[in-house]
């Protein structure tokens, strides 16, 4: 029996679909130039893709047809040689359309395999976000921002070829750098892109992540019911009524907290989250009204607290808030938990103010990329400069 190779590309739905598809196709076509058969497919269960929902592409390559068939005789690979993560906020885990619960980003990474992340953060900042794994694995950080664009748009910032070059270094048995360069030449006829792949090949390095490193939390998961335990008629219980909130200090009761879907928490859907300055809030209700996910809890005193179980990070609240700097969107990598900002503020207003100021001032740059036409393209020169350096 020959050898089977599998690579998964974990990406943000819609914004990175073309990028993920290009990487996956590039792997299969480059390996094919060296006589290896392969297949490339996006996971069907992730569709229809919604803005930012984690999704996956898979590339499977084998040394012969029979081995390839073994790799394809399932819905998706259960183990991969390399997990490519093209947005560092996905390090916190994945909740996709395809399953219930949170899946660690490194779940499919085989023991000794590689998790490759595009990020401007150092490995030391990324590792605490990633769930612990029983077996050691390798981490490679490819410098760069999350390459976002539209569903039908190809954003030519070299992220795809840089990842292909790095994969050739980490898994040369699957495809060589020469094959990658040949593929690039055939596909784009662009020597600069081929050079970007070479630069990344030359500079990529890995470090081993041991079982004791990383986020020790057990990802939340659910057991699906048996057929005779389910209500028939394709009917499911609706979300219950909401309830009043309780102030953590005065124990006053009031306001309204909607009940939420217990099986879909949206922790991993967002790339940014709002932070709220409760001292300057004028209670105008606009964030609460405009939020498409009803994520704002109404506190007993009539403030609005963005609940992280429901926030998708769309940024509408920041856009509609009439008070300067009252709602600020901050890169999700800045946060370690999903706790209530309002409760923290109620317990220690000075402490909260310091935290808020620090969080906003120290936020790593992040943009939704769809605030105005052409915003995506503005990021390309920066990425191309990084590609030159490797």
């Amino acid at each position: 029996m020959g050898r089977l190779f599998a690579v998964e590309i974990v990406y943000r739905g819609i914004f990175q679909k073309t990028l993920a598809k290009n990487i996956s196709r590039g792997i299969v076509l480059a390996a094919n130039l060296e006589g290896k058969p392969g297949t490339s497919f996006g996971r069907y269960g992730d569709s229809p893709e919604r803005n930012g929902i984690p999704a996956k592409y898979f590339a499977i390559v084998a040394t012969d047809d029979l081995t390839l068939e073994e790799g394809m005789a399932k819905y998706e690979p259960k183990e991969v040689d390399i997990t490519v993560c093209v947005d560092d906020t996905l390090c916190k885990g994945l909740e996709s359309w395809a399953w219930y619960g949170l899946q660690p980003i490194n779940k499919l990474t085989r023991p000794g395999g590689t998790l490759m992340i595009t990020s401007k953060e150092p490995a030391e900042s990324l590792i605490p976000m990633i769930h612990q794994k029983h077996e050691p694995y390798k981490l490679a950080v490819l410098k760069g921002i999350a390459s976002f664009s539209g569903l039908w748009v190809y954003k030519d910032d070299h992220t795809d070829v840089r990842i292909l070059g790095a994969i050739a270094k980490l898994l040369p048995e699957m495809m060589s750098l020469d094959a990658v360069k040949k593929f690039i030449q055939h596909e784009w006829k662009d020597a600069v892109k081929a050079q970007s792949a070479t630069n990344s090949y030359n500079r990529v390095s890995t470090q081993t992540v041991s079982p004791s490193q990383g986020n020790p939390e057990k990802p939340f998961q659910f057991t699906l019911p048996k057929w005779h335990e389910m209500r028939d008629g394709v009917a499911i219980p609706s979300i219950a009524q909401g309830h009043k909130m309780e102030d953590p200090t005065s124990h006053a009761s009031g306001g309204y907290q909607p009940a939420r879907n217990p099986t879909f928490k949206k922790y991993t859907t967002r790339t940014m989250r709002p932070v709220v300055d409760f001292d300057t809030c004028i209670k105008c209700t606009l964030c609460w009204l405009q939020c498409p996910d009803s994520c704002f809890d109404v506190t007993p005193e009539g403030l609005y607290d963005a609940n992280m179980e429901a926030c998708c990070g769309c940024g509408v609240c920041e856009a509609v808030c009439p008070v300067k700097d009252c709602v600020t969107m901050v890169n999700e990598v800045s946060f370690k938990d999903n706790s209530s900002q309002w409760e923290a503020w109620r317990k220690n207003k000075d402490g909260y103010k310091t935290w808020l100021k620090g969080t906003i001032e120290n936020r790593p740059v992040r943009s939704h990329g769809f605030r105005y036409k052409g915003q995506y393209e503005e990021q390309s020169p920066e990425m191309l400069e990084i590609a030159k350096q490797g």
Partner: protein
């Protein structure tokens, strides 16, 4: 050592491309120089229309590309275009196919050689995208030819063969090409793209002859008829369907001669059946875990094999009965259901049992319903089925129908 199936592409002979099963069908449409294509989006069929739209927009393909306002119109438009002598292509999935049902029923009676891709999808409800074969199977009694393919290469080749057979004046029947949603429609594989010259030699121009709806050939199509006429009209469709196997054989033989790819028996593919004690019979991409399981179990000395049915309509009853009567037990893997049917089994199992009824030697036929709504059937599932069959072959009593991969 197991042999690779003939349906996988031989690399390096023609131009190759990394494309999905849907894209392979779109390429076939381009090579067949289809005149009129209608579309209405529904997953997973929509991947075909997207790719056709791209071919047209890029100037690689010249056809009338019409996005209809719903599936019923989608199928009606190509029906009429086809009556006027246009080579046509359309398709749908799941409940979209159901929405076109009235158009689907009239098409075979009018002897319209429409080629439709059915991206197999579970029928609502629940709204789900995954593959089930019940959508295409709803037209099994109406005069449609129905074929299931299991690789992107086979999808491309079968589409060319379908045009050749459907547009043969002896046949003039519509043909549905069933492609499993996700596993085939969305999976990219290396596919050999035939040359235009090869296709031109294989596929003659569509000639509607005496049935052409044209001022130079004044005819009325589909007049109202009473009880004096209907049975004779139905009998004509019966005769056309009866002629299909012969024309199919000619087409497959010619295909092999011109393109060099061998499909052997057009109606079903046999895998490791020479000395098999038991076999699994099924349609579509479930062949993949089945082949892997067979290779694994044969190493353990278990004589297991597979018969993959391609053509479901016309159902190759005689040949299939002859084939299946060689084995000690047959397991049908149905990616469909027929509630209230004999033994509460799937559609393929009922047809298979019926085909075997007049056979002198009748192995037990067990039905296994699995993979519904796109659920994966993995190698251990197939091994379980084979082990059940091996026990049945030894005379052990087994349930007529079992569900595979169900949470119970």
């Amino acid at each position: 050592m197991a042999q690779m199936t003939a349906t996988l592409p031989e690399r390096g002979t023609e131009e190759t491309a990394l494309i999905t099963g849907s894209e392979a069908i779109a390429v076939a449409c381009k090579l067949a120089d289809v005149d009129v294509i209608t579309a209405y989006p529904i997953r997973p069929y929509d991947t075909v229309m997207q790719y056709v739209a791209k071919l047209v927009a890029n100037g690689d393909m010249d056809c009338e590309y019409i996005v209809a306002e719903g599936e019923h119109s989608q199928f009606e438009i190509v029906k009429h275009a086809c009556a006027c002598g246009a080579r046509v292509f359309t398709g749908s999935s799941g409940v979209g196919w159901m929405y076109a049902m009235e158009a689907l029923t009239v098409t075979p009676a009018l002897r319209i050689p429409m080629i439709a891709m059915v991206g197999n999808r579970a029928l609502d409800d629940p709204g789900a995208f995954g593959v089930e074969h019940n959508d295409a199977l709803t037209v099994r009694d109406l005069g449609w030819m129905l074929v299931w393919v299991d690789t992107a290469q086979e999808a491309l080749d079968t589409a060319l063969i379908a045009y050749r057979v459907a547009e043969d004046r002896r046949i003039f029947l519509p043909c549905g090409i069933s492609c499993d949603g996700a596993f085939l429609t969305h999976s990219q594989a290396m596919v050999n793209i035939p040359t235009q010259d090869q296709v031109n030699r294989f596929l003659p121009r569509y000639n509607r002859a005496d049935l052409l709806l044209h001022p130079d050939n004044p005819i009325t199509v589909a007049p109202q008829a009473n009880e004096d006429w209907v049975m004779e009209i139905r009998r004509q469709n019966y005769a056309a369907m009866e002629r299909v196997p012969g024309v199919l054989r000619e087409a497959y033989a010619d295909f092999e001669r011109i393109f060099g790819r061998k499909y052997g028996n057009p109606f079903f593919e046999e895998y490791e059946t020479q000395d098999a004690d038991v076999v699994i019979l099924g349609m579509g991409t479930l062949s993949m875990p089945t082949r892997v399981a067979i290779r694994k179990m044969r190493k353990e000395g278990k004589k297991v094999g597979m018969v993959r049915l391609r053509w479901f309509r016309p159902f190759p009853a005689e040949e299939l009965a002859k084939c299946l009567s060689r084995f000690k037990a047959v397991g049908v893997l149905d990616r469909d259901f027929s509630f209230g049917s004999p033994d509460m089994c799937g559609v393929v199992a009922t047809e298979t049992r019926s085909a075997l009824y007049t056979s002198a030697k009748r192995p037990p036929v067990l039905d296994f319903i699995g993979g519904l709504g796109g659920r994966e059937v993995i190698v251990p599932d197939v091994e379980h089925i084979f082990n059940e069959l091996l026990e049945a072959a030894e005379g052990k009593k087994k349930p007529a129908t079992q569900w595979i991969g169900l949470r119970e």
